[in-house]
Symmetry: C2
Subunit: 217 residues, 2 copies
DNA sequence: TTTGGTTTTTGCAGGGTCTGTACGGATTAC
DNA sequence: GTAATCCGTACAGACCCTGCAAAAACCAAA
């Protein structure tokens, strides 16, 4: 069940290996693991897009990726995880970036700066997001399972980090700040993938909109 | 495995039955179905809170509710649905309320009015939300499965309804408007359940915050 | 090249979710 | 009272996911 796409993956892998011939066994293993993970993801997405989400069983994906079903779960904790894009940001780095900001900086300012920083890291992976966005549009139930737990935890953490900032007048204010800015970031990414332009600019635009408020809308 | 709670439910049910002795068979069946649904929900929540989410298998819930596992799925499409509160709003009524607003009203105004209207309907059920909120805090992964698909569809619909309103300057603006106002409503509900005050006031407050923007935060 | 340790893959068993189907009992309609 | 309809249930079966232990692949040193 090998496809041309798989072969391409493997070939480019060989090249990379030859070029960077000096790597520790540790690195070698990590690289191979990452590549296999990506290959499985590709197989999963291809099946889901071509034959529908229903056809994308673990068995089918594993067959396409030339591994046993059991091995699939050595790489992904759930089927949905394989059908989700590489996370755009981890809760950890988000929190880390935020806590690196001065504690007396207004919360919104900090969040804006953090969003800008994330946007920088985002650009290289934006191109890979399109098929996943297509999947997400066709099967909204996918949006849920993989990310939701992480996202909730992230929002709670941000909430904690934002509460004590100056200018935050209460619990509701803090909560709103977090969901609005997080929503702004996500919206900017979505628009960008949908063809609305470069992420960085859209993030700027989104934050400006939030900053000005919706009085005129 | 009947509990006092169940008995209470059944007794009040009897009373209601006697009082409203005139009901069509149609109504009778609907009422019984709704009550059984609620009883199953109660059983599920009680087990999950008392013994942990892990113990809340369909089998255990069914046993506690005195039905067969197969019957459980005649009432809920998934286990998670039984552990989620009655939906605060359906996509349909949300959209309906929104499309009842004049088409030339600024989008944010319309959304604000709709949120107010929803808040009115919300008040009676707020009291029942506490155990579900507790569950959601303990097990964030629950937040996902049941609502996410619906929520995505709702947001997409709102997006479509908002695009054409005056004052909406682009796709990003529309998207932001929707996620921010939706987030405001959800945040207000959460704060209210957490003990922050009456929902209506919190919704007002949240929308005022959005209206004024985060320039000072 | 062989050897031996480490990592990876895999098979197997088992628990859990969820669906289609078909049968039997209860409810409703006539 | 009988027929039509609705509802709960058993059963079979597909799929998801996990722990465990054996097999296979890998890799470094002899």
């Amino acid at each position: 069940m090998h496809s041309l796409h798989d072969l391409h993956d493997l070939q480019s892998l060989q090249k990379v290996h030859i070029v960077q011939s000096m790597e520790s066994p540790q690195e070698r293993r990590e690289r191979r693991r990452a590549e296999k993970r990506q290959a499985i993801r590709n197989a999963a997405v291809r099946i889901a897009l071509d034959q529908g989400l229903e056809a994308a069983t673990v068995e089918a994906i594993s067959a396409a990726a030339d591994i046993s079903p059991r091995t699939f779960f050595n790489y992904f904790a759930s089927k949905e995880e394989a059908l989700a894009p590489v996370p755009l940001w981890t809760p950890e780095e988000f929190i880390e970036l935020l806590s690196a900001r001065p504690a007396d900086e207004p919360a919104f300012q900090s969040l804006k700066v953090v969003a800008r920083a994330l946007a920088q890291r985002l650009r290289p992976v934006m191109a890979d997001l399109k098929p996943f966005m297509e999947l997400r549009n066709r099967y909204p139930e996918l949006a849920a399972k993989a990310r939701a737990a992480d996202e909730t935890k992230l929002l709670e953490s941000l909430l904690g980090a934002v509460r004590s900032r100056p200018g935050v007048t209460g619990a509701l204010h803090a909560r709103l700040l977090v969901v609005a800015t997080f929503g702004a970031a996500v919206s900017a990414v979505q628009e960008s993938v949908a063809g609305g332009g470069p992420v960085e600019e859209l993030i700027e635009e989104a934050f400006t909109l939030l900053e000005n408020g919706f009085r005129l809308s």
